[in-house]
Protein backbone atom coordinates (compact mmCIF):
# COMPACT_ATOMS: atom_id res chain seq x y z
CA UNK A 1 0.00 0.00 0.00
CA UNK A 2 1.29 3.46 -0.95
CA UNK A 3 0.14 6.79 0.42
CA UNK A 4 1.43 10.31 0.64
CA UNK A 5 1.65 12.13 3.95
CA UNK A 6 2.76 15.45 5.32
CA UNK A 7 4.84 15.01 8.47
CA UNK A 8 4.91 18.12 10.66
CA UNK A 9 7.84 18.30 13.08
CA UNK A 10 8.08 20.76 15.95
CA UNK A 11 11.05 22.23 17.78
CA UNK A 12 11.37 19.17 20.04
CA UNK A 13 11.63 16.45 17.43
CA UNK A 14 12.98 17.92 14.20
CA UNK A 15 16.52 16.66 14.89
CA UNK A 16 15.68 13.05 15.84
CA UNK A 17 16.44 10.17 13.42
CA UNK A 18 12.74 9.42 13.04
CA UNK A 19 12.64 8.61 9.36
CA UNK A 20 15.58 6.26 9.76
CA UNK A 21 13.64 4.25 12.38
CA UNK A 22 10.66 4.11 10.04
CA UNK A 23 12.74 2.27 7.47
CA UNK A 24 14.64 0.06 9.88
CA UNK A 25 11.87 -0.97 12.26
CA UNK A 26 8.85 -1.03 9.95
CA UNK A 27 10.41 -1.97 6.62
CA UNK A 28 8.77 0.95 4.83
CA UNK A 29 9.99 2.39 1.56
CA UNK A 30 9.65 6.11 1.23
CA UNK A 31 10.17 8.83 -1.30
CA UNK A 32 10.57 12.43 -0.11
CA UNK A 33 8.59 14.77 -2.35
CA UNK A 34 9.29 17.97 -0.46
CA UNK A 35 11.24 18.87 2.67
CA UNK A 36 11.33 22.09 4.63
CA UNK A 37 13.62 21.67 7.64
CA UNK A 38 14.36 24.79 9.64
CA UNK A 39 16.56 24.33 12.74
CA UNK A 40 14.64 25.07 15.95
CA UNK A 41 11.48 25.93 14.05
CA UNK A 42 8.50 23.99 12.73
CA UNK A 43 9.48 21.80 9.78
CA UNK A 44 7.68 19.46 7.43
CA UNK A 45 8.30 16.61 5.07
CA UNK A 46 6.05 15.42 2.27
CA UNK A 47 6.64 11.70 1.82
CA UNK A 48 5.23 8.91 -0.20
CA UNK A 49 5.33 5.85 2.08
CA UNK A 50 5.04 2.37 0.66
CA UNK A 51 4.85 -0.95 2.49
CA UNK A 52 2.73 -3.63 4.09
CA UNK A 53 -0.63 -2.21 5.29
CA UNK A 54 -0.09 -3.37 8.88
CA UNK A 55 3.49 -2.07 9.01
CA UNK A 56 2.34 1.24 7.55
CA UNK A 57 -0.24 1.59 10.30
CA UNK A 58 2.34 0.78 12.99
CA UNK A 59 4.81 3.20 11.42
CA UNK A 60 2.29 6.02 11.43
CA UNK A 61 1.47 5.22 15.04
CA UNK A 62 5.17 5.39 15.90
CA UNK A 63 5.41 8.82 14.24
CA UNK A 64 2.48 10.12 16.26
CA UNK A 65 4.07 8.83 19.47
CA UNK A 66 7.16 10.82 18.61
CA UNK A 67 5.08 13.99 18.49
CA UNK A 68 5.04 14.16 14.69
CA UNK A 69 1.73 15.30 13.30
CA UNK A 70 0.82 13.15 10.29
CA UNK A 71 -1.69 14.31 7.70
CA UNK A 72 -2.61 12.51 4.50
CA UNK A 73 -1.98 15.09 1.78
CA UNK A 74 -5.13 14.72 -0.30
CA UNK A 75 -6.90 17.48 1.55
CA UNK A 76 -4.17 19.87 0.48
CA UNK A 77 -4.74 19.63 -3.27
CA UNK A 78 -7.39 22.04 -4.27
CA UNK A 79 -9.02 23.16 -7.48
CA UNK A 80 -9.80 26.84 -7.85
CA UNK A 81 -13.24 26.47 -9.42
CA UNK A 82 -13.19 30.02 -10.75
CA UNK A 83 -10.10 29.34 -12.81
CA UNK A 84 -10.93 25.84 -13.99
CA UNK A 85 -12.29 26.04 -17.53
CA UNK A 86 -12.92 22.29 -17.78
CA UNK A 87 -10.59 22.13 -20.76
CA UNK A 88 -9.27 18.67 -19.94
CA UNK A 89 -5.53 19.31 -20.43
CA UNK A 90 -4.68 17.98 -16.95
CA UNK A 91 -6.18 14.59 -17.69
CA UNK A 92 -3.16 13.89 -19.92
CA UNK A 93 -0.86 13.64 -16.94
CA UNK A 94 -2.89 12.92 -13.80
CA UNK A 95 -1.54 9.47 -12.89
CA UNK A 96 -4.40 8.38 -10.64
CA UNK A 97 -7.49 9.43 -12.57
CA UNK A 98 -8.36 11.99 -9.88
CA UNK A 99 -8.86 14.42 -12.74
CA UNK A 100 -11.08 12.80 -15.35
CA UNK A 101 -13.55 13.84 -18.01
CA UNK A 102 -17.23 13.09 -17.49
CA UNK A 103 -19.09 12.23 -20.65
CA UNK A 104 -21.16 13.46 -22.37
CA UNK A 105 -21.16 16.69 -20.31
CA UNK A 106 -17.38 17.07 -20.90
CA UNK A 107 -16.96 18.56 -17.43
CA UNK A 108 -13.68 17.65 -15.75
CA UNK A 109 -14.25 16.00 -12.38
CA UNK A 110 -11.71 16.37 -9.57
CA UNK A 111 -11.96 13.54 -7.05
CA UNK A 112 -9.76 14.38 -4.02
CA UNK A 113 -10.09 10.79 -2.77
CA UNK A 114 -8.17 9.51 -5.77
CA UNK A 115 -5.53 12.26 -5.66
CA UNK A 116 -2.00 11.26 -4.62
CA UNK A 117 -0.91 14.91 -4.37
CA UNK A 118 1.87 14.33 -6.86
CA UNK A 119 1.43 17.94 -8.01
CA UNK A 120 1.87 17.17 -11.72
CA UNK A 121 -1.35 18.97 -12.61
CA UNK A 122 -0.16 22.28 -11.15
CA UNK A 123 2.00 23.31 -14.10
CA UNK A 124 0.09 21.19 -16.62
CA UNK A 125 -3.04 23.28 -16.07
CA UNK A 126 -2.87 26.29 -18.44
CA UNK A 127 -5.02 28.64 -16.29
CA UNK A 128 -3.21 27.33 -13.17
CA UNK A 129 -6.39 26.23 -11.42
CA UNK A 130 -4.79 23.39 -9.43
CA UNK A 131 -3.19 24.41 -6.17
CA UNK A 132 -1.15 22.22 -3.87
CA UNK A 133 -0.50 23.54 -0.39
CA UNK A 134 1.03 21.84 2.61
Amino acid sequence: MKNTYVLHFDTTNYDKPIVYRLIRDYDLVFNILKAVILPKQESYLVMEIDGDVRQLELGLHYLQNQGVQVDPVTKNVHRNEERCTHCGACTAICPTGALAIERPSMFVRFDPDKCSACGLCVTACPPRAMEVSF
Binding site: C87, A92, I101, M106, T123, P127, R128
Partner: protein, 392 residues
Protein backbone atom coordinates in the same frame (compact mmCIF):
# COMPACT_ATOMS: atom_id res chain seq x y z
CA UNK B 1 -31.30 26.46 -56.51
CA UNK B 2 -32.29 26.66 -52.92
CA UNK B 3 -35.88 25.83 -51.96
CA UNK B 4 -35.76 28.14 -48.95
CA UNK B 5 -34.41 31.68 -49.13
CA UNK B 6 -34.12 34.18 -46.30
CA UNK B 7 -32.07 37.33 -45.99
CA UNK B 8 -30.16 38.46 -42.91
CA UNK B 9 -32.35 41.57 -42.94
CA UNK B 10 -35.51 39.45 -42.69
CA UNK B 11 -33.99 37.40 -39.88
CA UNK B 12 -33.03 40.58 -38.02
CA UNK B 13 -36.62 41.80 -38.36
CA UNK B 14 -37.79 38.60 -36.66
CA UNK B 15 -35.15 38.99 -33.92
CA UNK B 16 -36.36 42.54 -33.21
CA UNK B 17 -39.96 41.35 -32.96
CA UNK B 18 -38.88 38.55 -30.64
CA UNK B 19 -40.07 35.94 -33.17
CA UNK B 20 -36.77 34.45 -34.29
CA UNK B 21 -36.17 30.75 -33.72
CA UNK B 22 -32.65 30.34 -32.37
CA UNK B 23 -30.98 27.01 -31.55
CA UNK B 24 -27.43 25.92 -30.77
CA UNK B 25 -25.33 23.92 -33.23
CA UNK B 26 -25.75 20.87 -30.96
CA UNK B 27 -29.56 21.20 -31.03
CA UNK B 28 -29.55 21.68 -34.80
CA UNK B 29 -28.12 18.17 -35.29
CA UNK B 30 -31.28 16.56 -33.95
CA UNK B 31 -33.62 19.01 -35.70
CA UNK B 32 -32.16 18.27 -39.13
CA UNK B 33 -32.00 14.53 -38.42
CA UNK B 34 -35.72 14.52 -37.49
CA UNK B 35 -37.19 16.93 -40.03
CA UNK B 36 -34.68 17.24 -42.86
CA UNK B 37 -32.64 20.26 -43.91
CA UNK B 38 -35.37 21.98 -45.91
CA UNK B 39 -37.92 21.92 -43.12
CA UNK B 40 -35.26 22.95 -40.59
CA UNK B 41 -34.29 25.89 -42.82
CA UNK B 42 -37.91 27.06 -42.92
CA UNK B 43 -38.27 27.00 -39.15
CA UNK B 44 -34.87 27.84 -37.71
CA UNK B 45 -33.52 31.36 -38.20
CA UNK B 46 -30.19 31.30 -36.39
CA UNK B 47 -27.79 28.60 -35.17
CA UNK B 48 -25.32 29.63 -32.48
CA UNK B 49 -21.79 28.25 -32.13
CA UNK B 50 -18.97 28.63 -29.62
CA UNK B 51 -15.36 27.89 -28.84
CA UNK B 52 -13.16 28.59 -25.83
CA UNK B 53 -9.50 27.77 -25.93
CA UNK B 54 -6.00 29.26 -25.82
CA UNK B 55 -5.64 31.34 -28.98
CA UNK B 56 -2.23 32.69 -29.80
CA UNK B 57 -2.20 35.66 -32.15
CA UNK B 58 -4.32 37.63 -29.72
CA UNK B 59 -3.58 40.98 -28.12
CA UNK B 60 -4.88 44.45 -27.42
CA UNK B 61 -4.35 48.00 -28.62
CA UNK B 62 -4.28 50.30 -25.60
CA UNK B 63 -4.17 54.07 -25.46
CA UNK B 64 -2.73 55.16 -22.13
CA UNK B 65 -3.76 58.81 -22.16
CA UNK B 66 -1.23 61.64 -22.02
CA UNK B 67 1.00 62.28 -19.02
CA UNK B 68 2.09 65.73 -17.81
CA UNK B 69 4.61 66.59 -19.09
CA UNK B 70 3.93 64.56 -22.22
CA UNK B 71 5.91 61.48 -23.22
CA UNK B 72 6.34 59.84 -26.62
CA UNK B 73 6.73 56.35 -25.25
CA UNK B 74 9.21 54.32 -27.23
CA UNK B 75 9.59 51.47 -24.77
CA UNK B 76 6.68 50.16 -22.77
CA UNK B 77 6.19 47.60 -20.02
CA UNK B 78 2.90 46.57 -18.39
CA UNK B 79 3.43 44.60 -15.17
CA UNK B 80 6.95 44.11 -16.51
CA UNK B 81 5.68 42.56 -19.76
CA UNK B 82 7.09 44.41 -22.78
CA UNK B 83 4.55 45.85 -25.22
CA UNK B 84 5.13 47.40 -28.64
CA UNK B 85 5.25 51.20 -28.36
CA UNK B 86 6.35 51.93 -31.89
CA UNK B 87 2.90 53.06 -32.94
CA UNK B 88 2.29 56.56 -31.57
CA UNK B 89 3.01 58.62 -28.45
CA UNK B 90 0.84 56.64 -26.03
CA UNK B 91 -0.66 53.95 -28.26
CA UNK B 92 0.70 50.48 -27.77
CA UNK B 93 0.03 46.89 -28.75
CA UNK B 94 0.28 44.22 -26.11
CA UNK B 95 0.72 40.70 -27.48
CA UNK B 96 -0.77 37.75 -25.58
CA UNK B 97 2.30 35.52 -25.88
CA UNK B 98 4.87 38.06 -24.64
CA UNK B 99 6.43 36.77 -21.41
CA UNK B 100 7.57 38.90 -18.45
CA UNK B 101 10.87 40.72 -19.09
CA UNK B 102 12.91 38.55 -16.70
CA UNK B 103 11.06 35.25 -17.21
CA UNK B 104 13.48 32.30 -17.04
CA UNK B 105 11.77 30.96 -20.22
CA UNK B 106 12.93 27.42 -20.96
CA UNK B 107 16.30 27.75 -19.19
CA UNK B 108 15.08 25.21 -16.67
CA UNK B 109 13.14 22.97 -18.99
CA UNK B 110 10.14 22.80 -19.12
CA UNK B 111 9.59 26.47 -18.27
CA UNK B 112 6.48 27.51 -16.38
CA UNK B 113 5.78 30.84 -18.13
CA UNK B 114 3.78 32.07 -15.18
CA UNK B 115 2.86 35.53 -16.45
CA UNK B 116 2.68 37.26 -19.80
CA UNK B 117 0.66 39.50 -22.09
CA UNK B 118 -2.45 37.31 -21.84
CA UNK B 119 -2.35 37.61 -18.06
CA UNK B 120 -2.05 41.42 -18.30
CA UNK B 121 -5.14 41.46 -20.52
CA UNK B 122 -7.00 39.28 -18.00
CA UNK B 123 -5.88 41.55 -15.11
CA UNK B 124 -7.11 44.62 -16.98
CA UNK B 125 -10.47 43.05 -17.81
CA UNK B 126 -10.86 41.90 -14.20
CA UNK B 127 -10.42 45.52 -13.07
CA UNK B 128 -7.09 44.85 -11.35
CA UNK B 129 -4.35 47.47 -11.18
CA UNK B 130 -1.59 47.21 -13.78
CA UNK B 131 1.80 48.90 -13.41
CA UNK B 132 2.86 50.89 -16.45
CA UNK B 133 6.48 51.88 -17.17
CA UNK B 134 7.26 54.08 -20.17
CA UNK B 135 10.63 55.21 -21.52
CA UNK B 136 11.47 57.73 -24.18
CA UNK B 137 14.37 59.73 -25.64
CA UNK B 138 12.53 63.05 -25.23
CA UNK B 139 11.54 65.55 -27.92
CA UNK B 140 10.62 69.24 -27.91
CA UNK B 141 6.92 68.36 -27.97
CA UNK B 142 7.23 65.28 -25.73
CA UNK B 143 9.95 66.15 -23.19
CA UNK B 144 9.27 63.44 -20.59
CA UNK B 145 11.70 60.52 -20.57
CA UNK B 146 10.22 58.21 -17.95
CA UNK B 147 6.67 57.77 -16.74
CA UNK B 148 5.65 55.20 -14.15
CA UNK B 149 2.09 54.75 -12.90
CA UNK B 150 -0.60 52.26 -11.93
CA UNK B 151 -3.66 52.13 -14.14
CA UNK B 152 -6.95 50.24 -14.26
CA UNK B 153 -8.85 49.56 -17.44
CA UNK B 154 -11.39 52.32 -16.70
CA UNK B 155 -8.54 54.91 -16.75
CA UNK B 156 -7.60 54.14 -20.34
CA UNK B 157 -9.23 56.26 -23.05
CA UNK B 158 -9.40 53.23 -25.40
CA UNK B 159 -8.71 49.52 -25.10
CA UNK B 160 -9.45 47.29 -28.07
CA UNK B 161 -9.01 43.55 -28.20
CA UNK B 162 -7.50 42.90 -31.62
CA UNK B 163 -6.69 39.33 -32.52
CA UNK B 164 -5.12 38.77 -35.93
CA UNK B 165 -5.77 35.02 -35.95
CA UNK B 166 -8.46 33.34 -33.90
CA UNK B 167 -11.07 30.72 -34.42
CA UNK B 168 -9.11 28.25 -36.55
CA UNK B 169 -11.62 26.34 -38.63
CA UNK B 170 -10.02 22.98 -37.76
CA UNK B 171 -6.67 21.97 -36.33
CA UNK B 172 -4.04 19.26 -35.95
CA UNK B 173 -4.16 16.69 -33.19
CA UNK B 174 -0.83 16.27 -31.40
CA UNK B 175 1.02 12.99 -30.87
CA UNK B 176 4.61 12.26 -29.84
CA UNK B 177 6.34 9.32 -31.50
CA UNK B 178 9.69 9.92 -29.80
CA UNK B 179 10.77 8.10 -26.65
CA UNK B 180 10.61 11.03 -24.22
CA UNK B 181 7.84 13.37 -23.03
CA UNK B 182 7.60 16.64 -24.97
CA UNK B 183 6.01 19.93 -23.93
CA UNK B 184 4.25 21.72 -26.78
CA UNK B 185 1.50 24.22 -27.46
CA UNK B 186 -0.56 21.07 -28.05
CA UNK B 187 -0.04 20.20 -24.38
CA UNK B 188 2.07 17.55 -22.71
CA UNK B 189 2.63 14.68 -25.12
CA UNK B 190 3.66 11.38 -23.63
CA UNK B 191 6.38 9.30 -25.29
CA UNK B 192 5.76 6.50 -27.80
CA UNK B 193 2.40 7.85 -28.90
CA UNK B 194 1.03 7.66 -25.35
CA UNK B 195 -1.71 10.22 -25.91
CA UNK B 196 -3.31 12.36 -28.57
CA UNK B 197 -4.34 15.95 -27.83
CA UNK B 198 -6.87 18.01 -29.77
CA UNK B 199 -8.11 21.57 -29.59
CA UNK B 200 -11.42 22.21 -31.29
CA UNK B 201 -15.04 22.43 -30.24
CA UNK B 202 -15.83 20.28 -33.32
CA UNK B 203 -19.55 20.32 -34.05
CA UNK B 204 -19.94 23.50 -31.96
CA UNK B 205 -17.02 25.36 -33.53
CA UNK B 206 -17.96 28.43 -35.61
CA UNK B 207 -16.18 27.85 -38.93
CA UNK B 208 -16.94 24.13 -38.97
CA UNK B 209 -20.62 25.11 -39.12
CA UNK B 210 -20.13 27.43 -42.09
CA UNK B 211 -17.41 25.57 -43.96
CA UNK B 212 -17.51 27.80 -47.08
CA UNK B 213 -17.88 31.10 -45.18
CA UNK B 214 -21.24 31.71 -46.85
CA UNK B 215 -22.57 33.81 -43.95
CA UNK B 216 -19.45 34.82 -42.00
CA UNK B 217 -17.56 37.75 -43.45
CA UNK B 218 -16.21 41.21 -42.65
CA UNK B 219 -18.74 42.85 -40.36
CA UNK B 220 -20.21 39.70 -38.82
CA UNK B 221 -21.17 40.50 -35.23
CA UNK B 222 -19.94 37.90 -32.75
CA UNK B 223 -19.62 36.96 -29.07
CA UNK B 224 -16.05 37.94 -28.19
CA UNK B 225 -14.61 37.68 -24.69
CA UNK B 226 -18.08 37.93 -23.14
CA UNK B 227 -19.16 41.00 -25.10
CA UNK B 228 -20.02 41.96 -28.63
CA UNK B 229 -17.21 41.94 -31.18
CA UNK B 230 -16.75 41.80 -34.93
CA UNK B 231 -15.02 39.84 -37.63
CA UNK B 232 -12.93 42.63 -39.18
CA UNK B 233 -10.82 40.73 -41.70
CA UNK B 234 -9.81 37.20 -42.54
CA UNK B 235 -7.18 35.99 -40.09
CA UNK B 236 -3.49 35.45 -40.75
CA UNK B 237 -2.73 32.01 -42.21
CA UNK B 238 -6.33 31.86 -43.52
CA UNK B 239 -6.15 29.05 -46.06
CA UNK B 240 -9.42 27.87 -47.58
CA UNK B 241 -7.57 25.68 -50.12
CA UNK B 242 -7.09 22.68 -47.83
CA UNK B 243 -8.57 19.23 -48.55
CA UNK B 244 -12.28 19.01 -47.73
CA UNK B 245 -14.63 16.14 -47.07
CA UNK B 246 -17.76 15.48 -49.15
CA UNK B 247 -19.68 17.58 -46.63
CA UNK B 248 -17.41 20.55 -47.42
CA UNK B 249 -15.71 20.41 -44.01
CA UNK B 250 -11.97 21.11 -44.04
CA UNK B 251 -9.71 18.22 -43.05
CA UNK B 252 -6.92 20.48 -41.73
CA UNK B 253 -6.40 24.06 -40.51
CA UNK B 254 -8.44 25.94 -43.14
CA UNK B 255 -9.90 29.37 -42.43
CA UNK B 256 -9.14 31.79 -39.61
CA UNK B 257 -10.67 35.07 -38.44
CA UNK B 258 -9.33 38.49 -37.51
CA UNK B 259 -11.57 39.69 -34.68
CA UNK B 260 -11.90 42.91 -32.67
CA UNK B 261 -14.01 44.28 -29.86
CA UNK B 262 -14.14 46.75 -26.98
CA UNK B 263 -12.00 45.27 -24.20
CA UNK B 264 -13.76 47.46 -21.64
CA UNK B 265 -16.98 45.49 -22.08
CA UNK B 266 -15.37 42.04 -21.85
CA UNK B 267 -15.12 39.67 -18.91
CA UNK B 268 -12.28 37.69 -17.31
CA UNK B 269 -14.44 34.56 -17.54
CA UNK B 270 -13.97 34.67 -21.32
CA UNK B 271 -10.46 36.15 -21.56
CA UNK B 272 -8.08 34.21 -19.40
CA UNK B 273 -4.28 34.36 -19.28
CA UNK B 274 -2.80 30.87 -19.67
CA UNK B 275 0.65 29.36 -19.11
CA UNK B 276 1.52 26.45 -21.34
CA UNK B 277 4.34 24.52 -19.70
CA UNK B 278 7.51 24.34 -21.81
CA UNK B 279 5.94 26.50 -24.51
CA UNK B 280 4.88 29.95 -23.36
CA UNK B 281 2.06 32.28 -22.41
CA UNK B 282 -1.16 32.83 -24.25
CA UNK B 283 -4.73 33.98 -23.87
CA UNK B 284 -7.79 31.73 -23.75
CA UNK B 285 -10.51 33.48 -25.76
CA UNK B 286 -14.22 32.78 -25.87
CA UNK B 287 -15.80 33.29 -29.29
CA UNK B 288 -19.29 32.53 -30.52
CA UNK B 289 -20.70 33.21 -33.97
CA UNK B 290 -24.37 33.25 -34.91
CA UNK B 291 -25.07 31.60 -38.24
CA UNK B 292 -28.12 32.80 -40.14
CA UNK B 293 -30.01 29.93 -41.77
CA UNK B 294 -30.50 31.62 -45.12
CA UNK B 295 -31.28 28.39 -46.97
CA UNK B 296 -31.32 24.59 -46.61
CA UNK B 297 -27.59 24.39 -47.37
CA UNK B 298 -26.88 26.32 -44.18
CA UNK B 299 -29.28 24.04 -42.28
CA UNK B 300 -27.31 21.04 -43.54
CA UNK B 301 -23.93 22.64 -42.77
CA UNK B 302 -24.90 23.63 -39.22
CA UNK B 303 -26.13 20.08 -38.52
CA UNK B 304 -22.59 18.72 -38.91
CA UNK B 305 -21.70 16.12 -36.26
CA UNK B 306 -18.39 15.35 -34.54
CA UNK B 307 -18.36 11.96 -36.30
CA UNK B 308 -18.28 13.72 -39.68
CA UNK B 309 -15.42 16.11 -38.88
CA UNK B 310 -11.87 14.81 -39.32
CA UNK B 311 -8.54 16.14 -38.13
CA UNK B 312 -4.99 15.08 -38.95
CA UNK B 313 -2.84 13.54 -36.21
CA UNK B 314 0.63 15.08 -36.45
CA UNK B 315 3.87 13.97 -34.75
CA UNK B 316 5.04 16.96 -32.71
CA UNK B 317 8.39 15.33 -31.94
CA UNK B 318 9.47 15.48 -35.59
CA UNK B 319 7.04 16.20 -38.40
CA UNK B 320 5.59 19.41 -36.95
CA UNK B 321 8.86 21.07 -35.86
CA UNK B 322 10.58 20.04 -39.10
CA UNK B 323 7.62 21.10 -41.22
CA UNK B 324 7.60 17.85 -43.22
CA UNK B 325 3.84 18.04 -43.75
CA UNK B 326 3.50 14.33 -42.93
CA UNK B 327 0.50 13.16 -40.97
CA UNK B 328 0.13 9.95 -38.99
CA UNK B 329 -3.54 9.45 -39.87
CA UNK B 330 -6.94 11.15 -39.64
CA UNK B 331 -9.34 10.76 -36.73
CA UNK B 332 -12.87 12.05 -36.19
CA UNK B 333 -13.92 14.42 -33.41
CA UNK B 334 -16.49 11.81 -32.47
CA UNK B 335 -13.74 9.36 -31.50
CA UNK B 336 -11.65 12.11 -29.91
CA UNK B 337 -14.55 13.34 -27.80
CA UNK B 338 -15.39 9.80 -26.66
CA UNK B 339 -11.86 9.56 -25.26
CA UNK B 340 -9.93 6.98 -27.30
CA UNK B 341 -8.66 6.86 -30.85
CA UNK B 342 -7.18 3.96 -32.80
CA UNK B 343 -3.69 4.85 -33.99
CA UNK B 344 -2.10 2.13 -36.11
CA UNK B 345 -4.52 -0.34 -34.56
CA UNK B 346 -3.61 0.67 -31.00
CA UNK B 347 -6.00 2.37 -28.55
CA UNK B 348 -4.66 5.77 -27.48
CA UNK B 349 -6.29 8.13 -24.95
CA UNK B 350 -7.48 11.41 -26.46
CA UNK B 351 -7.13 14.56 -24.37
CA UNK B 352 -8.95 17.83 -25.15
CA UNK B 353 -7.23 21.20 -24.69
CA UNK B 354 -10.26 23.29 -25.61
CA UNK B 355 -13.19 23.46 -23.21
CA UNK B 356 -16.26 21.86 -24.75
CA UNK B 357 -18.49 22.75 -21.80
CA UNK B 358 -17.50 26.41 -22.09
CA UNK B 359 -18.07 26.31 -25.87
CA UNK B 360 -21.58 25.05 -25.14
CA UNK B 361 -22.07 27.85 -22.60
CA UNK B 362 -21.11 30.45 -25.22
CA UNK B 363 -23.53 28.99 -27.77
CA UNK B 364 -26.28 29.03 -25.11
CA UNK B 365 -25.47 32.62 -24.07
CA UNK B 366 -25.54 33.86 -27.65
CA UNK B 367 -28.83 32.04 -28.19
CA UNK B 368 -30.36 33.84 -25.19
CA UNK B 369 -29.04 37.23 -26.36
CA UNK B 370 -30.55 36.77 -29.81
CA UNK B 371 -33.82 35.24 -28.64
CA UNK B 372 -34.27 38.22 -26.28
CA UNK B 373 -33.68 40.69 -29.10
CA UNK B 374 -30.49 42.02 -27.46
CA UNK B 375 -28.25 40.97 -30.34
CA UNK B 376 -28.94 41.25 -34.05
CA UNK B 377 -26.85 39.85 -36.87
CA UNK B 378 -24.21 41.89 -38.66
CA UNK B 379 -24.47 41.85 -42.45
CA UNK B 380 -21.09 40.94 -43.94
CA UNK B 381 -19.75 43.77 -46.10
CA UNK B 382 -17.24 41.56 -47.87
CA UNK B 383 -16.96 37.76 -47.99
CA UNK B 384 -13.88 35.89 -46.80
CA UNK B 385 -11.54 34.37 -49.38
CA UNK B 386 -12.82 30.85 -50.05
CA UNK B 387 -16.53 31.66 -50.16
CA UNK B 388 -16.30 31.25 -53.95
CA UNK B 389 -15.52 27.54 -53.44
CA UNK B 390 -19.15 26.72 -52.59
CA UNK B 391 -20.77 24.97 -55.52
CA UNK B 392 -24.40 24.96 -54.31
Amino acid sequence: MAAVKKTIREINERIRKGEAVVVTAEEMIGIVADNGAEDAARHVDVVTTGTFSPMCSSGAFLNLGHAKPRIRASKVWLNNVPACGGIAAVDLYLGATEPTEDDPLNKVHPGEFRYGGGHVIEDLVAGRKVHVYLESYGTACYPNKVVEKDVVLADLPQAILCNPRNCYQNYNCGINLSDRTIYTYMGILRPNGGNVTFSSAGQLSPLLNDPYYRTIGLGTRIFLGGAEGYVTWYGTQHNPAVPRGENGVVRGGGGTLFVMGDLKKMSPRWLMGVSIVGYGCSLAVGIGIPIPIIDEHMARFTAVRDDDIFAPVVDYSYDYPMGTGNIVQEVSYGELRRGTVQINGRKVPAVPLSSYSRAREIAETLKTWIANGMFTLGEPQMPLPGSELFGG
